[in-house]
């Protein structure tokens, strides 16, 4: 039993089931990110934890106590909303103290806590302003202050950074991470931004179509995606996924792929996991940073293989150059060092780090190796 337990929880609106049987158990102090495209059920799940939406079946428990039917205000949670949801008619300090006031906390205590929180978030100078007079970043801080001051068991964040511009988003991301490290509270955080998920979380639940596709640490999710959806959704640029065939070559299993110039190339696998599957069609998944120029390849890898492939496009991006080649009919992107002299139309050696390659079944889309 964890600190926050989601057991077989589902949600339906009439005949439409938006969340299928979901089990997640969160330990105290964890930072769990629910990530997925819009409509995947992540916000619904968060609202169910908050008690803003009821549970169709199953149970949600905090500290071993069932929360089904418990009012949001009595769950000892706090929530930061996408729009911040600051009460426009109250000052910043009014916003922060409103929840304490509703819970009957004495004025002197309220003022003490407001002062602590505003110190922590450096918003002391804003306390007398109205939300309308604040910038986006300042509103974000106030919204967090309102949540922090409650000293809740669980913090819920609903896409808190998506209304900020790119630069501020990165700053606030760091700040949230610092705050979590400092306070050690349990956080459930919803986002559609996979980078936010990877950078912030201790664990990630990738959701799609009302199902949790994969639950794991950022490294597990990134290196060993459970299926093609997770592989494609997490990471940017996203993982290359292209058709290949398992063949046996010199007693070693390899992936045979077709190149744009009509030739075929076979790339040996790093392991013999697919040795019994010779002849099988697979989808090979390999991240751009595992396809490099020869000298850029990972020196610690035991399984770097060179494929001479025609270059279709090069996209210099400053620190790296992305090089695209057609493999198996798909655009496959490699991440080359910036100063490699490579031009569209060349046939160039691509170094595949097969230690980082994964394989999926084309029908089920699940990972098989």
């Amino acid at each position: 039993m964890g600190f926050l337990d989601i057991k077989q929880a589902t949600k339906s609106y009439g005949a439409v089931q938006v969340l299928h049987e979901t089990d997640i158990s969160i330990e105290e102090g964890e930072f769990l990110v629910l990530v997925g495209p819009s409509g995947c059920g992540k916000s619904t799940l968060l609202n169910m934890i908050a008690g803003l939406e009821n549970i169709t079946s199953g149970e949600i428990a905090i500290r071993g106590k069932s929360m089904n039917g418990v009012k949001p205000a009595d769950r000892n949670i706090a929530m930061v909303f996408q729009s911040y949801a600051l009460y426009p008619n109250m000052t910043v300090s009014g916003n922060i103290s409103f929840g304490m006031e509703m819970h009957g906390i004495e004025k002197s205590e309220r003022e003490k806590r407001i002062s602590q929180v505003s110190d922590l978030l450096q918003i002391k100078h804003l306390l007398d302003r109205k939300p309308g007079q604040l910038s986006g970043g300042q509103r974000q801080r106030v919204a967090m202050g309102r949540a922090l001051v409650r000293e809740p068991d669980v913090f819920l964040f609903d896409e808190p950074l998506s209304n900020l511009d790119a630069k501020l988003r990165v700053d606030m991301r760091t700040e949230i991470k610092k705050l979590h490290q400092k306070l050690g509270t349990t956080i459930v955080y919803v986002t559609h931004d996979q980078i936010e998920a990877l950078t912030l979380s201790t664990r990630i639940a990738v959701m799609f179509g009302g199902y949790v596709q994969q639950l794991g640490t950022p490294k597990e999710i990134y290196d060993n995606p459970a299926n093609m959806f997770v592989a494609g959704f997490m990471g940017s640029p996203s993982m290359n996924l292209f058709p290949a065939k398992v063949v046996s070559e010199n007693g070693q299993s390899a992936a045979e792929v077709s190149l744009a110039n009509g030739t075929k190339a076979s790339i040996p696998f790093a392991t013999e996991e697919l040795a019994s599957d010779v002849g099988r069609d697979i989808i090979l998944g390999i991240r751009p940073e595992a396809i490099t120029d020869r000298d850029g390849a990972d020196r610690n890898s035991q399984a770097v293989h060179i494929v001479e492939a025609p270059v279709e496009v090069t996209e210099p991006a400053g620190s790296d150059t992305f090089v695209v080649s057609q493999i198996g009919g798909k655009d496959v992107t490699g991440r080359f060092r910036a100063d490699v002299a490579v031009n569209a139309g060349d046939t160039f050696p691509f170094a595949f780090n097969m230690e980082k390659a994964v394989a999926f079944d084309p029908q089920s889309e699940n990972r098989i190796a």
Binding site: E53, N54, N68, G69, K71
Partner: protein
């Protein structure tokens, strides 16, 4: 996404009461609407099939009131008056409203001031409008007398006293009162049109006239729809203006269904027939309003 249903199956009475609070708050309104709108509609509908005269009575007479109604000359007049009045009222209001909206949309000076002048009659009571136009159109002291006083002694403008023409004076006064409102609706529609599309049309070489005819006016369809619905329902309900302006006269020349209903019910003591005429008014309005509300509310979902 309902946020109301945090219902607790094992909750105490207080909890359940608290959960039901939104519905409790709404219930007086539900009761009022159920009784005073729909209950009353059913009651009047029922009366229209009874032999009610000076007071409601419950002797069932079937369709007889409706048969009688359509045999009464005054009802016939009222219906044909409504057709004339309704059509002219809607067409003129829309045409004038559109013209004024386009004029006001030409980046003119003092737009706010002029708009205020065009729209102020809408704040007046139809009774006030009726009184003003009653004497203004009165041949004895009004426009006819004034023009004759200026020396054009053969000038005649006695529509309000003329059985054939009196209904048009109702149109004149009603248009004066409401056309500014229609102007405001169209102006809002015009302001909602994407200005980049207008620029594109100008680059395509459209003249101002072509711009309006081909690009702008077709896009005002929703405004036309709203204007039509509002004007049609106002026309059917028109009562005050007729009472103040002509009292339904001369004779019954400006009788409309609304005045017919009132006089048959309350002064001629033919409540059954009055109820039947009210039912017909309701049906006419429902035929216009229901599809409109349906589409508006369904879009919202």
């Amino acid at each position: 996404m309902s946020i109301s249903e945090t219902a607790n199956p094992q909750g105490s009475v207080v909890d359940r009461l608290r959960d039901a609070l939104p519905k409790i708050v709404l219930s007086p309104t539900v009761a009022i609407v159920a009784i005073f709108v729909y209950g009353f509609i059913l009651f009047t509908l029922y009366l229209s099939f009874t032999d009610s005269r000076i007071l409601p009575s419950f002797g069932w007479v079937g369709w007889q009131n409706y048969e009688n109604l359509f045999r009464i000359r005054a009802w016939d007049t009222a219906v044909s008056n409504l057709v004339i009045f309704g059509l002219l009222y809607i067409i003129i209001c829309c045409a004038l409203g559109l013209l004024l909206a386009i004029l006001l949309d030409q980046r003119i000076r003092a737009e706010g001031f002029i708009r205020t002048i065009y729209l102020y009659p809408m704040a007046l009571s139809f009774i006030v409008t009726g009184v003003a136009w009653k004497w203004f159109l009165d041949p004895g002291i009004g426009i006819e007398a004034v023009v004759q006083g200026w020396g054009w002694t053969s000038f005649e403008f006695d529509w309000i006293k003329n059985r054939e023409m009196a209904i048009y004076t109702i149109v004149i006064a009603a248009v004066w009162q409401t056309s500014g409102f229609v102007m405001a609706m169209f102006l809002a529609g015009l302001r909602g049109i994407d200005s980049e599309m207008m620029k594109a049309a100008q680059i395509d070489g459209a003249s101002t006239f072509a711009l309006y005819r081909r690009i702008v006016i077709p896009q005002l369809r929703p405004a036309f729809m709203s204007a039509f619905v509002v004007l049609a329902h106002m026309a059917i309900k028109s009562y005050d203006l007729v009472i103040a302006l002509t009292g339904g006269g001369p004779g019954t020349a400006t009788e409309l269904p609304a005045t017919f209903m009132y006089s048959y019910t309350f002064t001629r003591n033919q409540m059954g027939i009055g109820a039947a005429s009210a039912v017909i008014m309701l049906m006419t309005i429902a035929a216009i309003i229901v599809p409109y509300l349906w589409s508006e509310l369904r879009e919202k979902k």
